[in-house]
Structures are given as structure tokens and as C-alpha cells.
């Protein structure tokens, strides 16, 4: 009896969580008439024309590539920068280290809309408006503080004896980072990369403000454009939405255990 109640309670939240996904997937597989007849019903057949239309009409593959061209450099640069900085903040005692770390933590709290205006003006002066590099640099600056915080708390858990014994064996600090710390932090770095990839994939305001050329825009911005053009063609919009969340959702499902460990390690302390 008690178990049933617990399951009913938990099941209600499962529905809350996934119902919007299911409806969009259903709609993306329906013809227009079918959708207007009943929004809730499952599709009667496996109708793929909506997907074919979106793929042919909207040049989504171009926007898909743009999302990758932005996300991958962001993930790689932040991973490298935050490993170096996280190691220093955790294992080396240098002058004014705590103040410096506090200044970095400030970056975690800043509301994006308030810094995006000066960033926009600065990029304009540098000629970086309407370029991918402008978006990449901005995204790196915004997500770095979390990554440094994350890597530092991971390195804090690595015992100092490991470093000392490597040093006795004659390793210098760069070698310690590359040959001892990086292999040790493989799973943390993996979780961090996933979180960072998800964030740059989701990113909307940054590319919206910085990029105006449709050929350079990532998926998220292209989607809002598409919605604007086909405002009443819900089955098309549904197919476009599925194409955008599917890569990230599949990635999440495959890696969910590690991903959630990463989230709890990053915030849970």
C-alpha cells in the first residue's frame, strides 16, 4: 500500500517530466490533418515527411555544423584552461590566491543580460561581430568560472602524497599535470565536458546577439527563425525541435550516470 503510493507520486512527476517530449515527438510524426483532429493521440503511422521537409528546406545541417563548430572549441579550450587553473588553485600556494579565486567565483553569479551589452560593444570594436570566434570567446568567458570551480574541487580530493612522490621521481609540474593529474581526473573531465557541451549547445542569447548572418547561426537561433517563418506549421516545427534536442538527449541518456555524478560533484559539496 505504502509502496504503491510512493510509486504513484513518483510516476506523476515522470509524466510531468516527459509528457512535453512525447507530445512533440508524436506531433512530428503526424500529418497536418491528423494533428488538428487530435493533438493527444499517438501518430497512426510512421510519417517522416516533416523531417524530410525540415532537412531539405531549412538548411538545418548548416546550423547543426555551426553548433558543433562553436561547442567543440569551447569545450576543448575550457577543459585545458580549467585543468591548469584548477590545479594551481588547489595545489599551489601563491600570492593572493584566495582573492583571485573569489574574483573568478563572481563570474558564476553574473546575470547574462547585464554583461552581454558591453560584450557586444567590445566585440563590435574588435570586428568580431558576426563571427564564430566572437561567440566562442564569449561562451568561454562565461563558462570558465564554473569549470575552474569544478576542477579545483576535484583536485582538492587528490591526496598531496601522489604529487610529492611524483616530484621525488623527478617530474616537474607540467609533467605532474599531464601524466598524473589528467589520467586521474579522466572521469571528472568527462563529466565536465558533457556539462559544457550541453551549455554551449543550449546557448541562445549569446549567438542571437553576436551573429546576424544565418549561415553562421547555431541551431537554437535557427530554430526561432524557422518558427517565425512557419508559425502555424506545427508538424514542421515539431520535427525541427526533435532534430535539435535529439543529439543532446541521446548523449545525456548514454552518459547519464557519469553526467549526474558530475553535477553532484560540481554543486553537491
Amino acid at each position: 500500500m505504502k509502496k504503491t503510493f510512493i510509486w504513484l507520486f513518483l510516476f506523476a512527476f515522470i509524466l510531468f517530466s516527459i509528457l512535453p517530449f512525447i507530445i512533440v515527438i508524436f506531433t512530428s510524426l503526424k500529418t497536418n490533418q491528423e494533428m488538428y483532429a487530435n493533438v493527444l493521440a499517438p501518430p497512426s503511422s510512421f510519417y517522416l515527411d516533416n523531417y524530410l521537409f525540415v532537412l531539405s528546406e531549412a538548411k538545418f545541417y548548416l546550423n547543426f555544423l555551426n553548433s558543433l563548430y562553436i561547442s567543440i572549441p569551447v569545450v576543448i579550450s575550457i577543459s585545458v584552461l580549467s585543468t591548469l587553473a584548477g590545479y594551481a588553485f588547489s595545489k599551489i600556494n601563491f600570492w593572493k590566491k584566495n582573492i583571485l579565486f573569489f574574483i573568478i567565483l563572481i563570474g558564476l553569479m553574473l546575470p547574462l543580460p547585464s554583461i552581454i551589452i558591453p560584450i557586444y560593444l567590445n566585440l563590435a570594436k574588435l570586428g568580431f561581430l558576426n563571427t564564430r570566434i566572437g561567440v566562442i570567446l564569449t561562451q568561454i568567458g562565461i563558462d570558465l568560472p564554473f569549470a575552474i570551480f569544478f576542477m579545483r574541487s576535484f583536485f582538492n580530493d587528490v591526496p598531496n602524497e601522489i604529487i610529492e612522490s611524483a616530484r621525488i621521481d623527478g617530474a616537474n609540474d607540467l609533467q605532474i599535470i599531464m601524466k598524473v593529474m589528467v589520467p586521474l581526473s579522466k572521469s571528472s573531465l568527462g563529466a565536465l565536458s558533457l556539462i559544457l557541451f550541453m551549455w554551449s549547445w543550449q546557448s541562445y542569447i549569446v549567438p542571437l546577439v553576436i551573429i546576424t548572418d544565418n549561415n553562421l547561426r547555431p541551431l537554437t537561433v535557427a530554430l526561432t527563425d524557422f518558427v517565425g517563418r512557419y508559425i502555424t506549421a506545427y508538424t514542421y516545427i515539431a520535427a525541427a525541435s526533435v532534430l535539435i534536442f535529439l543529439p543532446i538527449t541521446i548523449l545525456f541518456i548514454i552518459t547519464q550516470r557519469r553526467f549526474i555524478e558530475g553535477i553532484t560533484a560540481g554543486y553537491g559539496k
Binding site: 512535453p20 547574462l112 543550449q202 541562445y204 542569447i205 530554430l223 538527449t249 547519464q256 554543486y267
Partner: protein
């Protein structure tokens, strides 16, 4: 000699520390910190357009305190924070229930799913659910003859804010459940067993063992939720842009619209500065608390 070695070691550590931190700090500083200082600087100017501005002293700050929309927006941020904090206890209940069953990891992942997708996609999904013509809620209303579900969910100024809040809950609750769950799993099982042997009821166990044991996590999530609520932006901007009227306006949407639509950058920056001070002072409270422990 010993002193000399110590001095050399210090020098070496400083050199090494700064070399490792510098690349990250430079990018962060030039992009993010610089923007904060510029915000502060702009907040003392009046902009006629994006390139021409003149010194205006404290005018922007004075105007802010006379601006009704500013108060409406800040009120919405506070209401959002208040409602999320109340709901944290519901999310904690979910986590407590999850900790009692075997498939907790999978369920946690399902609850977290909405947080993984781009919010522009969430906006489309929920736009559908709320659509007054053939939306999901309307269809459910038809099916089950529940007339109270027939509403202008996003069009009615009285409802729009709460409709958006529900989307906020949808994307946020999984995160809190996961964090609560990991805290619950760190509690020593033997304490529970001992309490049960002593004949304690489940309610008593919750209030006297579980709640004190996860006190730190709870206070972290309360402060984190307040900070999130002060920053809330994406979903509101995409779905209603603060409307109808100003019924869903929050500080971030107001800041964004003032700068990019009204080109009123000086005034927008002044509100930004107030928002940043608000969020930072909250955050410092958390950091202080963490440092004490």
C-alpha cells in the same frame, strides 16, 4: 640558508601559480570582468544611441527609484524566489521517496531530462501545451470536461506569470532532486536502523534525523534558488518578452529590452549594477557560510 630556500620556494610557487592561472584569468577578465566595469561606467551616462552618450551623473539611479516597471520587475523576481523555496520541500519529498526505491538513478535522470534541452525547444513545447486554440491543456479539457483548464494561459495577465513559473519548475526540479538525493545517500544507514528499532515513526525520523543531516544541502539549494530566481531570463524572454503588459517582466528581461530595443544603455546598465550587487551580496553570504564549515 633555510630562509633562502623558503624564499626561493615561494618565488617558484608564485611564478608557477600565476603562469597556470593567467591564461584562464586573462580571457575571463577581458570578456566578463571588463563588461562589469563598463556597466558601472555606462550607468552614469545618458545614451541617445549606441555610440553617442553624455554624462548624466546619478540620473539613471534616481530615475530607477521612480520607475514603476522596475518595482514590478523586482517584485516578480522575489515572488519567483519565494515560490521556488516553498516548492523545495516538495522536491525534497520526491528525493526522499526516490531514496527508498531501487531504480532511483534512472528516475533521477528522467527528472533531469528537461534541463538538458535548449530552452528555445522548451519554449516551443510549452507554447503548445498552453496554446488556447488546440493546445494540450485545451484538448485535455475537452476530453475530461474540465472547464477550468480552458484559459488564456499566456495571454491572461493574471495567469501568465504562473504559467511561466511552471515551465521554470519543469526545467529546475530535476536538478534539486539529484542534489537532495546524493545528500540523502550520504547519511549513515545505521542511524535509521537504530531509530526504527527504538520505534520511531517515519515522520519523526524525517524531522529528527533526515532534515538535520541534510541541513547544509538544503541551505545551499535555498540560496542557489534565490540567485537563480534573481537571474531568471531565458524562458520568459522567449515566451512572453515580459508581457502581456508588464505582467511577466523580471529584472533581466527589462535590462535586455531597455538596451537592445530602446537603446537606453545607461539606464539599463544602472539596473544591471543593482541586480549584480543584489546577486553578489547573496552569494557572499553562501561563501561565508561554506568557509565557516
Amino acid at each position: 640558508m633555510e630562509r633562502y630556500i623558503k624564499k626561493m620556494k615561494n618565488l617558484r610557487n608564485n611564478l608557477l601559480g600565476y603562469t597556470l592561472v593567467l591564461p584562464a584569468f586573462l580571457i575571463y577578465g577581458l570578456i566578463v570582468l571588463l563588461a562589469v566595469f563598463q556597466n558601472f561606467y555606462y550607468s552614469f551616462f545618458k545614451f541617445t544611441n549606441i555610440t553617442s552618450y553624455e554624462f548624466a551623473g546619478l540620473d539613471n539611479y534616481i530615475n530607477m527609484f521612480k520607475d514603476k516597471v522596475f518595482y514590478t520587475a523586482i517584485g516578480h523576481n522575489l515572488l519567483w524566489a519565494f515560490m521556488i523555496i516553498i516548492l523545495l520541500f516538495l522536491f525534497l519529498t520526491i528525493a526522499v521517496f526516490l531514496s527508498k526505491i531501487k531504480s532511483r538513478t534512472i528516475l533521477g535522470a528522467i527528472y533531469f531530462l528537461p534541463a538538458t534541452i535548449p530552452f528555445v525547444v522548451s519554449a516551443i513545447m510549452w507554447g503548445w501545451i498552453y496554446n488556447p486554440n488546440f493546445g494540450i491543456l485545451q484538448s485535455i479539457a475537452d476530453l475530461l470536461k474540465l472547464n477550468f483548464l480552458r484559459q488564456q494561459w499566456l495571454g491572461d495577465p493574471k495567469l501568465a506569470f504562473y504559467s511561466l513559473f511552471l515551465i521554470g519548475v519543469w526545467t529546475y526540479f530535476g536538478f534539486t532532486v539529484i542534489i537532495f538525493l546524493s545528500a540523502l545517500q550520504n547519511i549513515d544507514r545505521s542511524i535509521y536502523d537504530a531509530a526504527r528499532i527504538d520505534g520511531a515513526t517515519e515522520t519523526k525520523i524525517f524531522f529528527h534525523i533526515t532534515l538535520p543531516a541534510i541541513r547544509n544541502t538544503l541551505s545551499f539549494l535555498i540560496v542557489f534558488s534565490i540567485i537563480m530566481s534573481m537571474k531568471v531570463f531565458d524562458i520568459i524572454y522567449v515566451m512572453t518578452q515580459g508581457g502581456p503588459g508588464y505582467s511577466t517582466e523580471v529584472m533581466s528581461t527589462y535590462i535586455f529590452k531597455l538596451a537592445f530595443r530602446g537603446q537606453n544603455i545607461g539606464y539599463s546598465s544602472a539596473i544591471s549594477i543593482i541586480l549584480i550587487i543584489l546577486v553578489l551580496s547573496l552569494a557572499v553570504t553562501v561563501l561565508r557560510r561554506n568557509q565557516k564549515e
